[in-house]
Symmetry: D2
Amino acid sequence: MVDNEDLLQRISERYKKMSKGQKLIADYILNNYDKAAFMTASKIGQKVGVSESTVVRFANMLGYEGYPQLQKALQEVIRNKLTTVQRIEMTSELDESTLLKTVSKMDINNIRLTVEEIDKEVFNRVVERIFSARSIYVLGLRSAAPLAQFMGYYLSFIFEKVRVVTSGVNDILEQLIHIQPQDLLIGISFPRYARRTVEAMAFAKNKGAETVAITDSLLSPLTSYADHILLARSDMASFVDSLVAPLSLINALIVAVGIRKKTDISSDFQELERIWDEYQVYIGKDRS
Amino acid sequence: MVDNEDLLQRISERYKKMSKGQKLIADYILNNYDKAAFMTASKIGQKVGVSESTVVRFANMLGYEGYPQLQKALQEVIRNKLTTVQRIEMTSELDESTLLKTVSKMDINNIRLTVEEIDKEVFNRVVERIFSARSIYVLGLRSAAPLAQFMGYYLSFIFEKVRVVTSGVNDILEQLIHIQPQDLLIGISFPRYARRTVEAMAFAKNKGAETVAITDSLLSPLTSYADHILLARSDMASFVDSLVAPLSLINALIVAVGIRKKTDISSDFQELERIWDEYQVYIGKDRS
Amino acid sequence: MVDNEDLLQRISERYKKMSKGQKLIADYILNNYDKAAFMTASKIGQKVGVSESTVVRFANMLGYEGYPQLQKALQEVIRNKLTTVQRIEMTSELDESTLLKTVSKMDINNIRLTVEEIDKEVFNRVVERIFSARSIYVLGLRSAAPLAQFMGYYLSFIFEKVRVVTSGVNDILEQLIHIQPQDLLIGISFPRYARRTVEAMAFAKNKGAETVAITDSLLSPLTSYADHILLARSDMASFVDSLVAPLSLINALIVAVGIRKKTDISSDFQELERIWDEYQVYIGKDRS
Amino acid sequence: MVDNEDLLQRISERYKKMSKGQKLIADYILNNYDKAAFMTASKIGQKVGVSESTVVRFANMLGYEGYPQLQKALQEVIRNKLTTVQRIEMTSELDESTLLKTVSKMDINNIRLTVEEIDKEVFNRVVERIFSARSIYVLGLRSAAPLAQFMGYYLSFIFEKVRVVTSGVNDILEQLIHIQPQDLLIGISFPRYARRTVEAMAFAKNKGAETVAITDSLLSPLTSYADHILLARSDMASFVDSLVAPLSLINALIVAVGIRKKTDISSDFQELERIWDEYQVYIGKDRS
């Protein structure tokens, strides 16, 4: 896999050795990567006055199989480069009257792509590790904190060994200070990736723990420290991170755990049910 | 609107005055409401040996326009009656190999129905109230806490006046003790409805505050205390509440607020951007 | 031990069989227990026109060794009976100009009495149990939450097995759902005792766990469910619970644990020190 | 005021110009500041073979009025220089059998000195500002978080305008993003001072807000950004920060606020009392 972080830098470094046509492409991309990321090879060719195949070879030269791979890499660069202010600018182009439809369409599309692209073997392996781990740390910071909290909320009914790490009086790494090789850290992060989440993944890996990254792309900084990678789409043309597809994936993970542990959790929940009833935690249960 | 809470009781009370055919239907429903809730009128007719139109008239007699309304009411009854243990039983019938697809299909369907059914005027009015309110309390407990937290996370970048109520050292009502008539309480709850959320809505209403319910149905106990009702689907054949469609709706709400406040939040976020940069909160922003 | 909860009721029940002098005392106490609680036997005698020894016999008749025991019981009744509104009334009699001195004097006195009265064997046994327990739950709600948080903050540096229970998305009892016989629950509560703390102690005891109560008196409702009782004074003529002496006691507990685990925690903290240094958690460490 | 942070460095810088006797003292201090900090002038003189008055002049030369001031400065240096590992070493010299007495004596002494040294005018001004401020932020991180939480717990019954900042899904500075000139930030920090608390004080000051530091010494890094300084002693020969005297001071602050707002809070608490009663928050209130 080519490291996209330095894509723009790599283009700069190879600039000297480029053909004249390649230099034109390079100039355009370096100055307009935000636009280039959404143009086809032929469009870029037109723009700078070279052939489509020159653009394709430009991609090859940088180590990509074809232009689509280069384009995707550019999009990744953008995603991390966009400040929230730029995202708000983008948001303002959304039409308020069709907003709900637009947002829901993006969310539905994100879920659909997530299911299509998920690696089922990894999914099953993660479910297994959730059972076999000594301790499970579910970590999500900032906008990913609600996802970690949701996952922890359900898993802690089923297992004693769950610890949710979202914030707290102790710093994040302090909450991981006792992590061990038999433990599992499930790190959740989506663009813009919180630095401390990456640090926590690195810390856990370094201590020998097994790590799962729930993130949006192989280019996410979490993947460098992840034994298992579960990808969920979070594309959203807005300053809000859409965590709808990630939440759907986490739902499926919890349900998969629940199915395997069925008999055990039934008895756990029978006790909870008794408690909920005694303390009237829920409303609307028939008492007749 | 017919009160479904007592549907089974109402059937019992009218039993004496029913025709012989109606009694057969009543017997079947009272003993098998969990199955009946998912059968068509003709199927029930077959089961107990009466005509489809007898089943329809049975629904009319109970105050429903047609059989679909009775069926929906039965489903509501079930939803609140099902203990988590029963939900786990249901979960176990899910096929593990197709689990991800099943869950994602339900989630996509929930989002789709949510957008179709949403009342846009209410949606817009809620956006307006978020701007005009003196203070905004975003309240969600138990599995709805992550939703409240997510909504609060973004709204508190934009407004000072936001308070997230999910748990805390002070009890829930204590956190609402200063609520006033010009304030807005956004209460989020899905089956199984947390009792304390309903109490909080009632408390806020009683203090003269304006209230928004983000919930799953007009039959939700929150609606009794809500000035504005935003419905999002959360059907999920499992012990996990699916909050995917509610999250998508909340996304849309935040984006709608962001669009209207564009210029202001741009400057807020410029300052945040500076802070994030100085303290390296995020990873991957280009520093070259 | 005589149950003080029903002291006033017991007085009422025995009223019929009392001598004429005793009836006078009973009348006075039932109507003015808030004043009587702070009067000497001779003062009460004067007030109602009986001898001091009649007052003492009155105490004996109710099952107390002497008048001081009855007086203490009356003070306990008051402490739990006083609403916060009544406490505020009391507060208003404090002199603002000497406030700091008054508060600090009460706090110093509370610490002094706490050390004098502490049962050292119990103290040592609790330290031992902290080491030997499988899991340690440190529970404090409402105004006692900061104490639990403080204790948990330090203990969780030393042990992995610590869980702080102060509030949270999961209800209190849900956070204790996996508690077992080898576990230790340290419950912290001072007047006005939070009901849910008592429920949690009862729940843990019922599940076979070992329990420690850090509370103010043997009459505290926590003691019924406690294997070990550590008393700390919290008397404060105000609507604020003074948790200064309890905090001092908790300090001593943490230090005692630290002394015994010296070598181990040195290495834990060496790692923490490295982390704190790398992430500049603290200020002012010499880097030359 | 002399800046102690660089005391050791200043000694090094002036070394060249020192007399022979002063050089002997300087050598000893630079190599043994942890011991020197607890030696008298005459003891140091003996140690290095110079007169007591040479030691005193050494202090004068560095800008201190006398030796006691230099000694105090050295102790400050130590306090911040001591890693937790070194503190644990110190702790191990405490005698376990007299531990409780030792800890409580230090705590009592800390409270006594705190009251003696407090500036009453500052105390009263802070109470006034708590009333007049538009919003009040109570901030304490790490081991100071329980203090902030305790203070916030009570103040938020009395005022709506209180926000407790101890941790959270939003970063600390993000929670202060809306702070304004009419607002009050009460920052609480004791050695080892959390870096983020100092950053938060600086941030608030920079935004024009009024700031209060509750800290242990004029040499605390918080004081640079504080409009009002309230000092409370926290000396403790251990890895645990003793927050007993600071808690006593905070108690007094809350009570002082309560006394002034008496009538208003009575009615607030009457409503709370009704809520507490209805939801049985507390135990032991007489219901007869």
